[in-house]
Structure formats: structure tokens, C-alpha cells
């Protein structure tokens, strides 16, 4: 069972203030275009970080670097004490085998803007696929856990439906449940509400808020300033591949020190 | 009847004594194996056919079994598509081809033949001969079906001169993959006649549609068919010893009368050879 949304997770109680993600000087280029120009960030266990920034500033790219969907060109990303995607042996970096990378990614859940549910599987099957196939959870247990998760995201009655029969908000909540079913230590959200109709946004933000309250470590790319204000421990504003400013939400959102941040916030709110 | 099969007679090899000279000529390889592998494209009536129990029968089969008796080894009659019979010898799958194969100069570049049959070809036309075909010259300017790559093809091509001498256009050859396709072409009117080995023509005239579909053109000038050629057992040129053994065995069968009995059994007595020969064809 995984009562993630209900009670504080072991993370918060046992290991508070332990850095879970550390990024140092992360750089990434696509051909000639440098998208990340040296990002330094740290997220402690149990913390929620919100990433803000204009389109093209590299937020998604950074998130995808954390779980090695993109390879970085320079810098280091540590997750839970391990270098992501590489093993250090004799002072040399060695690429990891796909199997090893997969093991690392299991600790990191990700929710995409476009949901990316598996269209050929029902909501329930979407959730149990990875636990059964990868974590080797017994089927009965995986199903029970999936039902519990669906209940928690408010979709107890939709287990048997295919994604095409669900609204965007419902699909996104299934996607969250799917990621949680792997019992990750970190959740990455890439604009999880921006493809939703405004009325449905609330449902997804609710689920995320509960998740944060339960002690889950989260990095959230979002334009929902209200959410950032209420939930984030730290807000980071990125532009053109660098971190412009970061700090407590009240500070960054209420009284930004950079002109660029101020201009951006005026636009979004 | 639909299965016009000369019902499998009791295997004739029991009535045949081993011929010591022939058996002595047989290379040790075959004696040791106790068998010779025969490639035959069945059915190719009347030379090779299948009886009701799907066992091989026909002139070639009976003859092969009789030769087996003479040589003291078994002849394993095996199915092999005619087109790939020679590669099959080269590949070592079979030792000899016993499939009504004509003995030609071209084939003698690769094969030896032990000749056991001498016949020409005949003209097969639709019943009651609607086009009034009397001889080959009547075929000039008309479509004629032949199985591809047969001796008939060359013969009919070379007939062009005679056609033009007679003031007619040459024969239009319709070459088809199998003899049956040629017969179907005649029935459908795509061709006026099928020019085919005399034995096959006789069989088709007697059998197809209970003998009502076709008729043989009787050309009194050529009672044994046109351009008689030898038909022989084919085997690779380098296999001289086996050629000799087969030659002796066949000669022995001719001498003791078994050969004539078998030829009569299949109504093929007209086409018998008087003595076993090697590579008589194409001379």
C-alpha cells in the first residue's frame, strides 16, 4: 500500500534537510544553441521547488536532465547521493548501462505536460504496468495499491477506462498516480496543468498540494503563481538558460529583485 | 475414370535375376549403400504416375525396379521437380534422373544418358479437330502450345523455313510451364494444337475428359511421331562406372524380354529400342 497523500512519508520524518538533488554547473546544448548555461540548484528531501520562467528558458530541459532523458554536456547532477547516468571509476566517468539508468529513474517520478498516458491500457493498467513489470510487485498487491492511488486522486470509479475516455484533468491525475505507484523519492512536474481547461486545473493542483503536504520532494515547472505561493518552499526564476533569482516564494513572487522577473510576473498573473 | 492409373503391378524386381556382369560393374559406393536415389518428376504419365495408394508406377518406375533386380540394389524413386533435377544431381541429392528425359546434345555436355526409349512427338488437337490439322505444315501461322524448354520448341522454331517455303507465316509458339498448361491452352482456344511427346499425347487423348476432349492428329508419313529422339536415364558425366552398370542392366532386361513386356504393358511398344545405347541422342 502507498498512502502517499494521507500521511507524512518516511522521507520528511527521517531525513529532513538532506539534499536529495544537487545540480552543479549543468550545461546542455542542442547543436550550436546552448539551452542551459550552468545551472546550480539544490533540493532537500521533503522540499517543494517551483521553477518559473518564460518559454524557451530551459525549464523542461533541466527537468529532463535530472532524470537523464537528456544528457548533459557539462556539470554534475547528483540524485540521492549518486551521479545520474554515469558511474565514476578511477577518476573517469563511465556511461551507465540502460538497465542501471532505469534503476536510477525509478526513484524519480515525472509528470508531463501532455500526460503521455499509454492509450492502449486502462487507467488501472497504466498504473500497474511499471510496478509489476519492473519492481516485480505481485499483481494483487499492485492492483490494490493502484486502486488506493486512484481513490486518492479522486478517480476511484475510472479504473477501467482508457485514457481517450477521460478528460484532460482526469488523465493528468492518472499520470500522477502512475508516477507515484513506483514510490519515487522525487517527483518532477513539467507544466502539469497547462494543457488543461481552466476548470480542470483545480483538481490537479489539489492533488499536487496534498502530495506536497505529505512530504514528497517535488520540482514543479508551473505558471500557477497561486500554487507556487502556497506550496513551494523555494521558487526559482530561470531565463535564457540561467537561474536569474531564487528564494522564498514571498520574496521572489512578492518582491523580485530582478527587472526580468518582475516583467515576467506581470505578464503571467 | 478420374485416376487413369495402370494399377501398380507387383514389383517386377522379384521376377528378375541378378545379372552378375552388370552387378560387378556397379561402383562399390552404391553396393555399400544398397540403393540408388532416383529423381523423377511425378506424375508425368505414362512414364511415371502414382497409383491409388500414392505409390509410384509407370514405365520408368517399373523399368527402374527391374534394373534394381539386375543390379542387386534398390532404386529409391523420389519426387523431384524436373526443372531442378540436374542441380539435384549436382547437389548429391540424387544419383540418376529417371524422368522421361530426352537425350540431347546440349544435355550431354553435363549428363550421360542410357537410352531406353525412342519416340517422336505428335500433335494433339481439340476433339473432332475443328481446325482440320493434318500435319505440322498446317500449324504454320497458328498459335501452338508447347511446354517450355522442350525439344519440340527447337524443332518447331526450325520449321519456320518450311512454312515460308509454303508461303505461310511461321508457327506462333506459346511456351508454357507445364504440359498441362499447354493442354488447357488448347482447350481454351489460346492455341490450336499442343505438340508433345507421342507417349504423353496418346495418354492425354485417351484420358482427358474420359477421352472426349482431345484427339491425336494421325500423320501417316510419321507413324512414330515427328523427329524421333532418344529418351534416357540421365546421370552426371563423371559417373562413367555407373553409366556402364546401368547400360549392362538395361541390355540384360532387353535380352530376357522383361523390357518388351513392360513396354507392352503401357502400350508403348512402338517406341521400344532394339538395344541399350549410351548417348545416342543428338547424333
Amino acid at each position: 500500500m502507498n498512502p502517499v497523500l494521507e500521511s507524512p512519508s518516511p522521507v520528511r520524518t527521517d531525513e529532513i534537510r538532506r539534499p536529495l538533488v544537487q545540480a552543479q554547473g549543468v550545461r546542455k546544448s542542442y547543436g550550436p544553441i546552448q539551452v542551459l548555461k550552468g545551472i546550480d540548484l539544490q533540493v532537500d528531501a521533503g522540499q517543494v521547488m517551483c521553477l518559473l520562467g518564460p518559454s524557451g528558458s530551459g525549464k523542461s530541459t533541466f527537468l529532463r536532465c535530472i532524470n537523464h532523458l537528456e544528457r548533459i554536456d557539462g556539470g554534475r547532477i547528483n540524485f540521492d547521493g549518486e551521479l545520474i547516468g554515469y558511474a565514476q571509476r578511477n577518476g573517469k566517468l563511465h556511461e551507465m548501462k540502460p538497465r542501471e539508468v532505469a534503476r536510477q529513474r525509478r526513484g524519480i517520478g515525472m509528470v508531463f505536460q501532455r500526460f503521455n498516458l499509454f492509450p492502449h491500457l486502462t487507467a488501472l493498467e497504466n498504473i500497474i504496468a511499471a510496478p509489476i513489470g519492473i519492481r516485480k510487485v505481485p499483481k494483487a498487491q499492485a492492483v490494490a495499491q493502484a486502486h488506493a492511488l486512484l481513490e486518492q486522486v479522486g478517480l476511484g470509479d475510472k479504473a477501467g477506462l482508457h485514457p481517450a475516455k477521460l478528460s484532460g484533468g482526469q488523465q493528468q491525475r492518472v499520470a500522477i498516480a502512475r508516477a507515484l505507484a513506483m514510490e519515487p523519492k522525487l517527483m518532477l512536474f513539467d507544466e502539469p496543468t497547462s494543457a488543461l481547461d481552466p476548470e480542470l486545473v483545480g483538481d490537479v493542483l489539489d492533488v499536487m498540494q496534498k502530495l506536497a503536504a505529505s512530504g514528497m520532494t517535488m520540482i514543479v515547472v508551473t505558471h500557477e503563481i497561486g500554487f507556487a505561493r502556497n506550496v513551494a518552499d523555494e521558487v526559482v526564476f530561470m531565463d535564457a538558460g540561467i537561474v536569474v533569482e531564487s528564494g522564498a516564494p514571498a520574496k521572489v513572487l512578492g518582491n523580485p529583485s530582478h527587472e526580468r522577473t518582475r516583467a515576467f510576473l506581470e505578464n503571467v498573473i | 475414370t478420374d485416376e487413369p492409373v495402370a494399377a501398380g503391378t507387383p514389383a517386377p524386381e522379384h521376377s528378375v535375376e541378378v545379372d552378375s556382369a552388370a552387378a560387378a560393374a556397379l561402383p562399390a559406393k552404391y553396393k555399400d549403400a544398397g540403393a540408388i536415389n532416383v529423381a523423377a518428376d511425378m506424375p508425368n504419365p505414362p512414364m511415371e504416375m502414382l497409383d491409388k495408394n500414392n505409390n509410384p508406377t509407370g514405365l520408368d518406375y517399373d523399368l527402374s525396379q527391374a534394373m534394381g533386380g539386375k543390379l542387386g540394389v534398390k532404386f529409391n524413386f523420389q519426387q523431384q521437380a524436373f526443372d531442378t533435377a540436374i542441380p539435384s544431381l549436382q547437389a548429391g541429392k540424387h544419383d540418376i534422373i529417371f524422368a522421361g528425359m530426352n537425350d540431347t546434345a546440349e544435355r550431354q555436355k553435363v549428363l550421360n544418358f542410357v537410352d531406353y526409349f525412342h519416340a517422336g512427338f505428335k500433335i494433339l488437337v481439340n476433339a473432332s479437330n475443328p481446325e482440320g490439322i493434318g500435319s505440322i505444315i498446317d500449324l504454320c501461322g497458328k498459335p501452338v502450345a508447347v511446354q517450355k524448354a522442350t525439344v519440340q520448341v527447337e524443332y518447331l522454331v526450325s520449321f519456320a523455313q518450311k512454312c515460308s517455303d509454303a508461303g505461310k507465316p511461321p508457327i506462333e509458339l506459346v511456351q508454357l510451364p507445364t504440359e498441362l498448361d499447354a493442354q488447357t491452352a488448347v482447350r481454351s482456344g489460346k492455341a490450336v494444337a499442343d505438340v508433345v511427346d507421342a507417349s504423353v499425347a496418346a495418354y492425354a487423348a485417351a484420358t482427358a475428359g474420359d477421352g472426349k476432349l482431345f484427339e491425336l492428329v494421325k500423320d501417316p508419313e510419321f507413324p512414330n511421331g515427328y523427329n524421333p529422339v532418344y529418351t534416357g536415364i540421365g546421370l552426371l558425366k563423371e559417373n562413367q562406372d555407373l553409366t556402364e552398370a546401368l547400360h549392362l542392366a538395361l541390355q540384360s532386361l532387353i535380352e530376357d524380354g522383361t523390357y518388351t513386356r513392360l513396354m507392352e504393358k503401357y502400350d508403348l511398344a512402338d517406341f521400344a529400342v532394339t538395344e541399350a545405347g549410351v548417348n545416342n541422342g543428338g547424333k
Binding site: 503521455n116 498516458l117 513489470g133 513506483m182 | 531442378t84
Partner: protein, 318 residues
């Protein structure tokens, strides 16, 4: 024709009890397609005409057809045909998927090898490949496993003993079909959204698990119809094995007819069998298509449902 009658009505519109009772109900005269009905009637007439005239044709001997349709040899041939088809399709699909993955892989070596394979095996005639496998013994009297270009060999075996005709046939059909299957699978895989793979990886799935659990099932929708084509072709391509003396359905029929000279009748027997086998095959294809079409668009009625609907419609129009 019923379709031209003015009495033909659309199915009853909105139930009157729902909403305002219907002064303004749309009871439109449906658009007529007289052309379509004329065409359809024509086609049916022609088909009927061809069928009856085929049946009555004096050149066709019905007792012969009846006699051979279920004769032992034909049935045995059909069984062999089915067995060969199933065996080769299963083996070639596995090989084809591997080749498709190699072609899609980033590794240039795997990619080139797969490309070469597809090029050679699609590029040369199946017939030649069958002859090649069937007469491998012609080229190599013995097959030996050893280090190429050296004298060292692990073992040597007589080619003809190692590869009997049936096995040679299966190898030839399988390796050939795999090249075609590889292309079809590749196209199918290309039709799967890239986001699916990323979602899998982000869940910690391994590439192989991703392939079998997510990518292939989604590619199936695009793969199945051409694979149905290929299977049906294979059913009939087995006939080419007659060259190396494998007696499947067509070869058996050809042998029978070359003795009894009833070529047309035996072709009809063969056609009936192939038609029956094809029909049987198309049932799983239909339901597989529906199965893998789930979730991608609303499913229409099954043909049975459709037939019932058509019957109802025609009945109502009387």
C-alpha cells in the same frame, strides 16, 4: 431496388419524450444515392452471373471437384500448408521484429547489417532463395563450423543430411518473410508517439520492457493489416516449395491434375481451400484490429452487428 424507393426512412430521430415535444423534429428526406445502388446492383448481378455461369459451365466437371475437395491427399496438403504458414509466420515475425529494431537502433553497425539483410532478402526472388536453401548441397557438399579462412573446423556435416527439404523450405520462407516483416514493423514503430517512450523511461522501465509493453502494442494497430496481407500471401507462397519437393496443398493438387488432366477442377478445389483458410485467418485479424484499436477511436459495430442493422433497414423500407 429498395434503395430507390421513396419509402426509405432514416432511423427514428430523437425520442419525443426527451425535451420539447417535437413540432420541429428534423424528419428529413435522406439524401439519395441512386448511383450507388445502381452500381451495387450491377456488381451483384455481374457476380451472380459469373458465379452461375461458372457453375453451369460445361467445361467444369462438378463430380471431380466434389471427389477431390476432401480427398486425403488434398487434406494432408492443406494441413501441411497451414503448418508451414504458421511456423514460418511465427519465426519470421520474431526475426522481423529483431531486424526492425536493429534498423531503428542508433548503433550504425546493427543498422547497416539489418539494412543489408532486408536488401538482399527482399531483393532476390523467393524462388531463388528456395533453390538456394534446397540445393545448398550443390554449392557446399559439407557444412563445417570453424574459423573462416583457416583450416580449423569444429565439426563437419553433410549438407543434405542437415537440411532436409522441409527444413530448407521453412528456412527459405522464414528468412525471406522476415525482410518484409521488418519493413512493416519499422513503419509501425515509427507511428508510435515519441512521448510514450519518454513516459516509460521516466517510470524506470528498461528499453526491452518498454518495447514489449508499450511500443509494440501501439504499433500493432498499424502493423496488423499489412501483416494480414503477408500471412495470406504466405499461405499461397508455400506453393513455391514444390520446387524442393514439399508437398503442400497446391503441389498436391498440381500432381493430381497432371495425372488425371482435370487442371481446372483441381484449381477450383485449391481455390476453395485457400478461400476457406483465408476466411478463417481474417477472423482473428478482425478481432486483433479491434483489440489494438481500443482507446484510439470509437469502435464501429462488428460485421454481424452491421448485417443485422442492414437487414433491419431493408425490412423497415418495405
Amino acid at each position: 431496388m429498395a434503395g430507390n424507393s421513396t419509402a426509405l426512412r432514416q432511423p427514428a430521430p430523437a425520442q419525443p419524450e426527451a425535451g420539447e415535444p417535437g413540432a420541429h423534429d428534423i424528419v428529413a428526406v435522406p439524401l439519395r444515392h441512386p448511383g450507388r445502388w445502381v452500381l451495387a446492383s450491377l456488381i451483384l448481378l455481374v457476380l451472380l452471373g459469373v458465379a452461375t455461369s461458372l457453375w453451369r459451365n460445361p467445361n467444369i466437371d462438378h463430380p471431380t471437384i466434389a471427389k477431390y475437395l476432401f480427398s486425403d491427399r488434398i487434406v494432408a496438403g492443406a494441413v501441411l500448408t497451414v503448418a508451414l504458414t504458421i511456423l514460418t509466420m511465427v519465426l519470421s515475425t520474431i526475426l522481423g521484429i529483431v531486424l526492425a529494431l536493429m534498423r531503428l537502433s542508433a548503433n550504425p553497425v546493427l543498422n547497416s547489417v539489418a539494412w543489408l539483410y532486408v536488401w538482399i532478402f527482399r531483393g532476390t526472388p523467393l524462388l531463388v532463395q528456395i533453390v538456394f536453401w534446397g540445393y545448398l548441397g550443390l554449392l557446399y557438399k559439407q557444412l563445417s563450423l570453424g574459423v573462416p579462412f583457416t583450416e580449423f573446423t569444429v565439426f563437419t556435416v553433410d549438407t543434405n543430411a542437415l537440411i532436409p527439404a522441409f527444413v530448407a523450405g521453412v528456412i527459405a520462407l522464414t528468412t525471406n518473410q522476415a525482410a518484409y516483416t521488418a519493413e512493416i514493423v519499422r513503419a509501425g514503430m515509427l507511428s508510435v508517439d515519441q512521448g510514450q517512450k519518454e513516459a516509460c523511461y521516466s517510470l524506470g522501465m528498461t528499453p526491452l520492457f518498454t518495447l514489449f509493453k508499450v511500443e509494440l502494442p501501439q504499433a500493432m494497430r498499424v502493423i496488423i493489416p499489412p501483416m494480414g496481407n503477408e500471412t495470406i500471401s504466405m499461405l499461397k507462397d508455400t506453393a513455391l516449395l514444390s520446387l524442393i519437393a514439399v508437398a503442400e496443398l497446391y503441389t498436391v493438387a498440381a500432381r493430381i491434375s497432371s495425372q488425371n488432366l482435370h487442371q481446372v477442377e483441381l484449381l477450383i478445389v485449391v481455390s476453395i481451400w485457400y478461400l476457406a483458410l483465408t476466411s478463417i485467418l481474417s477472423v482473428p485479424q478482425y478481432y486483433l484490429e479491434r483489440h489494438y484499436g481500443r482507446g484510439s477511436r470509437t469502435l464501429g459495430p462488428t460485421p454481424i452487428g452491421r448485417a443485422v442493422a442492414l437487414a433491419n433497414r431493408v425490412r423497415r423500407s418495405k
